[in-house]
């Protein structure tokens, strides 16, 4: 392994990390602005122009608030909870291809941190599955009944929706024939090849499950403040609470990126090869387009949050097990049949 390669990856990791944090930070502002827009009010506008400094103030506030660890709490796990939540949120973006290759001074640099991994999609899936430990441990270690309820809800919700999510991904993988994210994105060049046209049902199921995995409204039962005070983070204060909220926004960012990459062509945009641009320009514009798609999805997350009411718990379970999973299985069978017909009669 040469030094330049390690250095290049290190720089990329730092850039991705910083972008993730900045996007998460400004998602909090965007969320409140969107809420303000939906409810016909301004939202935060005092700190800086258009309230642009608001996230910094909030971050500073989190650092300087008093930190309380309840007397009855299981101390190591109480601290470990938010740590796991933020770490799993941050490492999940490692396999997402942010763009094509850049060519700088004869060196070809791929804009993906862990390129060439055989199991890209499954890696993200695994890390998401791990994310629930942060919520569960934090909720249990708080030694509070509301927190425990939140933790238990988080666990059962995440497991139930992971199944439907996995099944909806299987039908996509049957079409792509590969688990490598960079290949999946590369297959969708242009506009007509986007997998949303091939797998609309799969995308709907995947998106619903992504909402549930991020604990976003209408699936935010783990923190459901009307029933559970604050849910799993009732006992948390200061930056520990901040880390939980941050990890939620990072998860939202990563799942938006994943949806854009899997179903909406990632960095591909219409007429990308017809305009006669050089490779570097295609890469740069592609990356910008990718982020535009991601922001679109993040806006969609917020739009849903301020539009739909929360599900009741039994409704959530019914939706997951009795509607989404059978639909996902039907989608797999349908995809299989169509693929078979296509391969036998139209080749």
């Amino acid at each position: 392994m040469e030094v330049a390669f390690v250095l290049e990856k290190l720089i990329l990791v730092v850039i991705v990390f910083v972008i993730t944090l900045v996007v998460a930070m400004y998602s909090t502002l965007a969320e409140r602005k969107v809420a303000g827009f939906m409810q016909d009010r301004y939202g935060p506008d005092r700190a800086g122009v258009f309230g642009l400094l608001q996230p910094l103030c909030d971050g500073g506030k989190f650092f300087f608030k008093e930190e309380i660890i309840p007397a009855g709490a299981h101390k190591p796990l109480f601290i470990l909870g938010p740590v796991i939540a933020i770490i799993t949120a941050c490492i999940s973006s490692a396999v997402i291809p942010w763009g094509q290759e850049l060519e700088i001074g004869g060196r070809v640099i791929s804009l993906q941190v862990a390129s060439g991994i055989n199991i890209g999609v499954l890696y993200i899936f695994g890390v998401i599955a791990l994310g629930v430990y942060g919520i569960m441990l934090g909720g249990w270690a708080s030694n509070n009944k509301f927190s425990l309820m939140g933790a238990i809800r988080a666990a059962s919700q995440s497991i139930s929706y992971e199944i439907a999510m996995g099944l909806s991904l299987i039908s996509l993988l049957m079409v792509t024939g590969t688990l490598q994210l960079e290949d999946i994105v590369a297959q969708q060049s242009g506009f007509v090849n986007w997998y949303i046209w091939v797998q609309p049902l799969g995308f709907l199921i995947f998106m619903t499950c992504a909402f549930a995995e991020c604990n976003r409204v209408p699936f935010d039962l783990p923190e459901c403040e009307t029933e559970l005070v604050g849910g799993y983070h009732t006992e948390y204060s200061s930056m520990k609470l901040g880390l939980y909220m941050f990890s939620e926004y990072i998860n939202m960012f990563v799942s938006s990126a994943l949806m854009a990459a899997l179903y909406f062509g990632g960095y591909n945009f219409p007429f990308m090869y017809e305009l006669g641009l050089s490779q570097n320009w295609i890469t740069i514009i592609g990356t910008l387009v990718f982020f535009l798609k991601i922001f679109g999805f993040i806006f969609f997350f917020m739009w849903i949050r301020w539009t739909l009411p929360r599900f009741r718990y039994d409704q959530l379970m019914n939706l997951g097990w009795k509607i989404l999973i059978p639909l996902a299985i039907a989608n797999i069978v349908l995809t299989g049949i169509i693929t078979l017909i296509k391969d036998t009669y139209f080749q």
Partner: protein, 167 residues
């Protein structure tokens, strides 16, 4: 090789901690760490697919369910059920039986089998899928039937319980 020895040490250490922790939640967490070291072992063997499946299924699903049940039961030190010596004894015998079976299985495998030696790419998704769906199709299908049976059984048990609650 040194990475392997370090990871093997960690696996055994966490496995022992699983048995010796008093708090059941700590015990489950050590078990999670044990499975994590297994994942690293798979990666060291270049079995990426097995690694990630182990990661998703064991760490991401089964252990979460373990924790879920423990949290629901809320076992504390004073409410921890003491197992009788008979159960412990039977457990030890069952463990030994498993060990003997494993040793026997390793003994029988010819060391020149291509899946044991040489072909290190067999753990990648494509190769694994081809092997599973061609040469080992029957055992694969049989194990899936076993899983289906277990699933139906679990649903049956759960159904019975709700009837009792309602009626």
């Amino acid at each position: 090789m040194s990475v392997f020895y370090f990871m093997a040490f960690l696996s055994i250490f966490f496995a022992l901690m699983t048995i010796f922790s008093k708090n059941p939640v700590n015990s489950v967490l050590y078990l999670v760490l044990t499975f994590f070291t297994f994942t690293i072992h798979y990666i060291l063997l270049n079995a990426q697919f097995l690694a990630v499946v182990n990661f998703i299924v064991y760490m991401g699903a089964i252990m979460v369910l373990f924790l879920f049940v423990l949290m629901l039961l809320n076992l504390n030190k004073d409410t921890e059920p003491m197992k009788s010596h008979f159960v412990k004894f039977m457990g030890a015998i069952a463990g030994m039986c498993l060990l003997a079976t494993m040793l026997g299985a390793f003994h029988v495998i010819e060391s020149n089998n291509e899946y044991v030696t040489g072909n290190t790419d067999v753990g990648l998704v494509k190769n694994l899928g081809k092997v599973l769906f061609n040469e080992f199709l029957l055992p694969f299908e049989l194990s899936s039937i076993l899983l289906l049976t277990a699933m139906v059984g679990a649903i049956l048990l759960a159904k019975k319980e709700t009837k009792k609650v309602n009626g």
